[in-house]
């Protein structure tokens, strides 16, 4: 168990060390707070650091563990929370000026569950304004930077979550994913990001972007840590009507050690493998060979309708976001960035009929995914067609050229999808591998991701100056 350096210890290892009284949660929180104080002024992963509160919670955890009262495998382990997730009496800005002074009275359901599992919050993490974007270049709270190259974006919208994990500021983070906002920063920062099946995790107390596409999920540096964190926060919530009955029985990590011998890995032969950066293509090809070497059977599968997925996604995203923001946009438009304001204004132009058609398309895409998965247990694709863009670099809005174009099919269908590190480009920037599965088969996706992780060491590499 390597816990000598708390900056890059896994959450599972920390939890075990705390339970055995080999390490102190208070010492680890102090070490991480010192690291945050040293590195975060440049990286801007945090909007609010709640150091005193974290130390208080660590002291409580230490007392409970000393008394033999264990709340679970992550008891005493620190986490960073994306700052659109409500925390009682702690400012929750959603990365916006609109909510700059918003202090919720109550925790989000996921935060309540983390507390019950003994997980300690170090603070609230930077994000793209209202999660409506993919770079985390935030005009209100500062530009979040990629620890692998500070001139590059960490991806978004959960940029503070990805960058902070890569920089060793915390071992666990929460992200949200409406069109890739967990998986994009995971890919750009060389960490693990899992968007579970729609409905597995409650969104109550999480500032919405688009109700039919929003997911909350775990981010971590290992697949095991992501599975443990998902265990801590999954489950139905009477206050989120979409959360009904989606959680699988037992632990999400129950199959992590089973390997992939005889499993069928499908590569969708449209959309996902066009116009890749050469280094991304090479890394994904190598990942295929790794899984084949571990006993998986990799085949091509056909998934129809993908070319129109981005259009349906755009219509749902823009119109639902416009509905949510309508009162604020009408009363205080100047509090939005120009880019966000324009994206919302476009949402008003989508008619009700167009919206219904996009929802009809969503159902057909679910059916076409189910058909594609008749020949595969999981799907394998690159997470992104490229590595992290430079800060300020324009990114295409064209549906088939957008750098997040491999993301929306999994938000539209609600299928589980994970990004795990699978290499680096020649500039030293991380590359992500996306694995996805059938709706409700989250444990299968985690199983394949864990098998891949065991065969490689990409997840164990860290930025030099972090």
């Amino acid at each position: 168990v390597i816990v000598d350096d708390p900056a890059f210890a896994s959450a599972a290892a920390l939890g075990r060390a705390f339970a055995r009284r080999e390490r102190s949660p208070v010492d680890v929180v102090e070490a991480l707070l010192a690291r945050i104080a040293r590195l975060d002024p440049a990286l801007v992963c945090f909007i609010t650091v709640t150091g005193e509160r974290a130390l208080d919670e660590a002291r409580v955890a230490e007392r409970e563990l000393a008394a033999g009262r264990t709340r679970g495998p992550l008891h005493g382990v620190p986490i960073g929370l994306k700052d659109l997730i409500d925390t009682a009496l702690v400012r929750t800005t959603a990365g916006s000026r609109v909510l700059a002074t918003h202090v919720p009275a109550r925790d989000a359901t996921v935060v309540e569950r983390l507390g019950a599992a003994g997980i300690l919050s170090l603070g609230k993490l930077n994000l793209h304004e209202f999660a409506f974007g993919t770079t985390s270049t935030n005009p209100h709270w500062g530009t979040c930077r990629n620890p692998w190259n500070r001139d590059r974006v960490p991806g978004g919208s959960s940029g503070g979550s990805g960058a902070g994990l890569a920089a060793g500021l915390f071992p666990l983070a929460l992200g949200t994913d409406t069109g890739g906002s967990i998986r994009i920063p995971a890919s750009c920062c060389g960490v693990v990001g899992f968007k579970p099946t729609f409905g597995v995790v409650s969104r109550t107390g999480v500032c919405p972007l688009a109700w039919t596409l929003d997911h909350v999920g775990p981010m971590a540096r290992t697949v095991e840590d992501a599975a443990l964190l998902l265990d801590a926060m999954a489950g139905p919530d009477p206050r989120d009507p979409w959360s009904a009955g989606r959680a699988e029985p037992g632990s999400f990590g129950r199959d992590l050690a089973r390997g992939v011998e005889g499993m069928r890995v499908g590569m969708p032969d449209t959309l996902f493998f066009a116009d890749l950066e050469p280094d991304v293509e090479a890394a994904v090809d190598a990942a295929v060979r790794v899984l084949e070497g571990a006993g998986a059977r990799v085949t091509r599968v056909r998934w129809d309708l993908l070319d129109e997925a981005y259009t349906a996604f755009h219509a749902l995203l823009a119109s639902e976001a416009a509905a949510f923001h309508r009162p604020w946009l009408a009363e205080r438009p100047e509090d939005y960035s120009e880019a966000m304001r324009a994206a919302l204004e476009i949402g008003y132009m989508v008619s009700a009929v167009d919206y219904v058609d996009a929802r009809r398309f969503q159902q057909r895409l679910r059916e076409s995914l189910a058909e594609a998965m008749r020949g595969a247990d999981v799907l394998l694709t690159p997470t992104l067609p490229r590595t992290a863009p430079a800060i300020g670099e324009p990114v295409s809005r064209e549906p088939l050229l957008a750098w997040n174009r491999f993301m929306p099919p999994f938000n539209l269908t609600g299928a589980p999808a994970i990004s795990v590190p699978c290499g680096f480009d020649r500039a030293g920037l991380p590359i992500g591998l996306q694995l996805s599965g059938r709706i409700g088969e989250d444990a299968t996706v985690l199983r394949v991701a864990a098998a891949y992780e065991r065969e490689t060491d990409w997840h164990a590499r860290h930025p030099e100056d972090a």
């Binding site: 009904a244 008003y348 996009a358 929802r359 057909r364 549906p399």
Partner: protein
């Protein structure tokens, strides 16, 4: 068959006004190509959808009552 929707700057401003949002002429002109592109793509998408007679096509089932959830 897909038809290309006709959108004008005045139409954008009118729809925004309907939603309580002020859109000046310059902003509307900036948005026009993006809106036109999205609506054209949506029109093409709709043209390829079958006319469905199944109940509530594309909409999810109602959530169970809280006490019915596993």
């Amino acid at each position: 068959m897909a038809t290309t929707p006709t959108v004008t700057i005045e139409r954008l401003r009118e729809v925004a006004r309907h939603h309580g949002v002020h859109l000046d002429e310059a902003r509307a002109a900036e948005l026009l190509p993006r809106v036109t592109s999205l609506l054209a793509r949506l029109s093409a998408l709709a043209a390829r959808l079958p006319q469905e007679t199944a109940p509530a096509p594309g909409l999810p089932p109602l959530a169970a009552e809280p006490d019915e959830r596993a």
